[in-house]
Symmetry: C2
Subunit: 155 residues, 2 copies
């Protein structure tokens, strides 16, 4: 096919493998979390990122950036999380345009309950198959690509 004809052979191989990871890894993590904790991978990220903030509270726009998602997507997800009582929206006192999400006690408990299984999955699917040196290589390479992706319009 033409796709990869314009990449070198090495780039082709790398691209095929990366594409497989990008397609299958989210699906695998999704299944684990959905099955064991009835939440999506993205919901897990949102809860986890929020839990790291002071007062377990963040602006939605900040959260969207950290979660690598659009504000629209995040807003829909926050609505669902709010329905389940895991987060609460509140106005930002510093800027009347902004909204903050606050992790509730129930949300914290849900996160703590989900974490072990999720971390175990990440370890099993990713780090168990890597050699010690690979971890640094992966971090370096993924960081570079992620940085470039952050320069992209919309995100």
């Amino acid at each position: 096919m033409d796709d990869v004809r314009w990449l070198t052979d090495d780039e082709q191989r790398a691209w095929r493998a990366l594409a497989a990871v990008v397609l299958r890894l989210p699906a695998a993590l999704e299944r684990q979390l959905q099955r064991d904790s009835q939440m999506s991978h993205f919901e897990y990220w949102v809860l986890a990122l929020t839990s790291e903030e002071p007062d377990r509270t963040v602006r939605l726009s900040t959260l969207a950036t950290h979660a690598n998602a659009s504000l629209s997507r995040l807003s829909h997800v926050i609505t669902r999380l709010e329905r389940r009582g895991w987060v609460k929206r509140e106005p930002d006192p510093d800027d009347a345009r902004a909204t903050r999400a606050r992790l509730t006690h129930a949300g914290w408990r849900a996160l703590v309950a989900a974490a072990p299984g999720h971390v175990e999955a990440v370890r099993r699917l990713v780090f168990d198959v890597l050699q010690p040196d690979d971890v640094a290589d992966l971090a370096r390479i993924a960081d570079r690509i992620a940085e470039r992706l952050r320069e992209e319009p919309s995100g």
Copy 2:
């Protein structure tokens, strides 16, 4: 948060970066293809993979494996591609259970038209930021993870 507390610091860094890639890369490629060629990234893969087969024809189950997708997802996509006249379903003469997808002439043209822009995007978003050695590292690491992911139930 607890997510990454049970990974080493290095693993944490690698995981954050990988997660960002996994979330943003598909979105970026998706936007490029949708904007320039009115097709999804996954549809592009399906067309490209089909185009590589003898007679530009493949079994759906084979195609699903190559495309890292479930048969259900693929079937839905083939239906859409068929509506646009880019592929045709046909029975497999060797196995009455099976269905084959055949790339049409229009499908081939659509693929050829989309390829340059897509390859350019892959190059810009991935390979332009990598050093020569990185490509081999990426291929090695992504291959290992992809292999593990293929052992997962469902896919």
